[in-house]
């Protein structure tokens, strides 16, 4: 049904987006918690920096990644010298690019749901002998799960559709960094491949629809579970 080329693009896309989500999940939750529950100097600046990938042209983000994470970059150089790890032009690099682009969406969704957690419940937990850390893991985080699920799906979908930052930082290497959008772009550039391009377009739409429906289903499920608990409240 699918051609080997399509399967490969799909596999790379899922692998890159999944890894992107894994990379940003914990930092994203921590960042959201920091922004939702703490006041500190430079908070607005940090908030702005977190949101930058949302408003910058993706090519700029890709370029900045090359500068910082490239073999001669400030961080990338250290990675290469000490770990022998080179990110540009690899699928891990594509995952990093997708993760950076998806980061603000994850932080926004998680932050909103953390802010919706009643601080009075956290105070009650504190009086019951729970440290801040225990309160976070037993009260705050579980109550923020619906937002966390939405944010994770949103971030995954964003990484899946990543194009500009990926092609700039990780290039368009068949079998390595050629995700669905990049494969589609290559096909459009090639004369006589209109049909193959159309097929890839349909696949992209289907994958996007599946993740949206899955997100909606998960959100509804968690919401229903919460609502079920509220039944019988006077």
């Amino acid at each position: 049904m699918l051609t080997p080329l399509e399967i490969e693009a799909l596999r790379i896309s899922l692998q890159v987006s999944g890894t992107a989500l894994l990379i940003i999940l914990v930092p994203g939750i921590l960042m959201a918690w920091l922004l939702a529950r703490h006041e500190f100097v430079g908070k607005s600046l940090l908030d702005g920096v977190v949101h930058l990938p949302l408003v910058l042209p993706p090519v700029v983000v890709g370029y900045l990644l090359l500068v910082v994470m490239g073999r001669r970059g400030a961080v990338g150089g250290w990675f290469y010298d000490h770990l022998g790890l080179s990110l540009p032009f690899t699928w891990q690099g594509a995952a990093l690019a997708g993760g950076v682009m998806a980061f603000p969406l994850l932080v926004r969704a998680v932050r909103l749901s953390l802010e919706a957690v009643d601080p009075r419940l956290e105070a009650a937990a504190r009086t019951l002998g729970a440290s801040r850390l225990r309160v976070f893991f037993t009260i705050t985080l579980p109550l923020a799960v619906p937002g966390l699920v939405t944010g994770a799906v949103l971030a995954f979908a964003r990484a899946l559709s990543e194009f500009g930052a990926t092609i700039t930082f990780a290039s368009n290497i068949p079998g390595e960094t050629r995700t669905l959008p990049l494969a589609l772009y290559s096909l459009i550039q090639t004369p006589g491949m209109e049909d193959a391009a159309a097929r890839l377009c349909v696949i992209s739409v289907v994958v996007a629809m599946v993740s949206l429906v899955a997100s909606e289903w998960l959100a509804r499920r968690t919401r229903r579970r919460m609502a079920g608990r509220d039944r019988g409240t006077p």
């Binding site: 009075r120 419940l121 105070a123 009650a124 937990a125 504190r126 009086t127 019951l128 002998g129 729970a130 440290s131 037993t138 009260i139 579980p142 109550l143 919460m226 079920g228 608990r229 509220d230 039944r231 019988g232 409240t233 006077p234």
Partner: protein
């Protein structure tokens, strides 16, 4: 001993208190909304930090701004019952009860569950509880944290009459059966009459009075703040016997005299507290066997103070407890009442406090 010595400014609201109360029994913080009682409770619990001052309970210092001491709330070992139950919605009642990880099962657990009547609720989710049930669970959750003191912030607010009385009964039972100092914050005189031993009256962040409840009730100058208490006396007693034929119970007072009340549900020998309104006490010079007054107590007049125009406030002493009476000035003169005189208090009606 609980010491609260606090100076704090919140917006244009000043709190300046210096309270020392016994670290046992039920101490009530009484005041209207905006009197600062919840602020004090939050500071004691460690949820807010005062600008200046010191907070200590039975020798353990929680806060001493001068010495830069601030013990975080989770290390204070204080059980807090909030106005809204604040149960964790994602845990079953049982997990809510054991959240503090101190008493999680066994005899002590069963005893608290039994005392609050929440056994049937253990496997439910908090969302499926009624308001009264949720608050009982919240009390249980605080008790199972094995606190050194239980703080209750208006735990009855927002419940309707019957539910309120039911929960109050549970709390009264608790104060009798569990030996734990309790700080009870309330603006409702009825609640305090039922359970308070020590009373701290707050007004706009300042302490108006702090003493035993009975003592404060007998002080005429407290009426502006204790107006809602509807001038009455509280007497401690013990159930002596029940008479099912007359549907009555006898309650013995400290000095051996007894009162007759409508049949009580408490078993014999259980201690209780009765309330007698000032205007329900008349004074006679001798026992009247030819009257319908069933309760006639011998007492000694301690003070006579003028009350509202034409009335006299009489304080009587019986076996170390005091009883207030409000009589007509004319009657007092006709009977030639003077302090030190032994009289008979004729009591029209007695009710159980709580």
């Amino acid at each position: 001993m609980l010491e609260l010595c606090i100076k704090h400014r919140q917006g244009d609201f000043d709190v300046d208190v210096d309270i020392t109360t016994p670290g046992s029994g039920v101490t009530a913080l009484f005041g209207h909304s905006g009197s600062g009682k919840t602020t004090l409770l939050r500071m004691l619990a460690g949820l807010d930090c005062p600008d200046q001052g010191r907070i200590a309970l039975n020798g353990r210092t929680f806060v001493d701004i001068g010495q830069k001491i601030f013990v975080p709330p989770h290390q204070r070992r204080l059980g807090v019952v909030f106005q809204e139950a604040r149960l964790f919605p994602h845990y079953r009642v049982r997990s809510n009860l054991t959240y503090a990880r101190r008493i999680t099962h066994g005899e002590a657990f069963d005893r608290v569950v039994d005392l609050l009547g929440i056994e049937a609720l253990l496997e439910r989710m908090p969302g499926a509880l009624s308001g009264g049930e949720a608050r009982r669970v919240a009390i249980g959750r605080a008790l199972l944290a094995e606190p050194d003191m239980l703080l209750m912030d208006e735990p009855l607010t927002g419940l309707d009459g019957a539910r309120k009385q039911e929960l109050l009964d549970y709390i009264v039972r608790l104060t009798r059966e569990i030996d734990l100092p309790i700080l009870f914050v309330s603006h409702d005189p009825e609640e305090l009459m039922a359970i308070a031993e020590q009373l701290v009256v707050l007004d706009r962040g300042h302490v108006m009075a702090s003493d035993r409840l009975e003592t404060l009730l007998s002080r005429g100058d407290m009426s502006p703040w204790l107006g809602g208490f509807e001038a009455s006396s509280l007497l401690q007693g013990q159930v002596l016997s029940h008479d099912h034929h007359y549907h009555a119970s006898r309650v013995a007072l400290a000095d051996g005299q007894y009162l007759t009340l409508p049949l009580l549900s408490q078993p014999e020998a259980s201690p209780l507290r009765v309330r007698i309104r000032r205007r329900d006490v008349a004074i006679a010079l001798s026992h009247h066997s030819d009257s319908s007054f069933r309760n006639q107590l011998e007492a000694v007049i301690t003070t006579l103070t003028p009350g509202a125009p034409g009335t006299l406030e009489v304080t009587l002493s019986l076996g170390g407890q005091s009883l207030q009476s409000r009589i007509a000035l004319e009657a007092a003169e006709a009977l030639e009442l003077v302090p030190g005189m032994t009289v008979v208090a004729l009591i029209r009606s007695v009710s159980l406090a709580g």
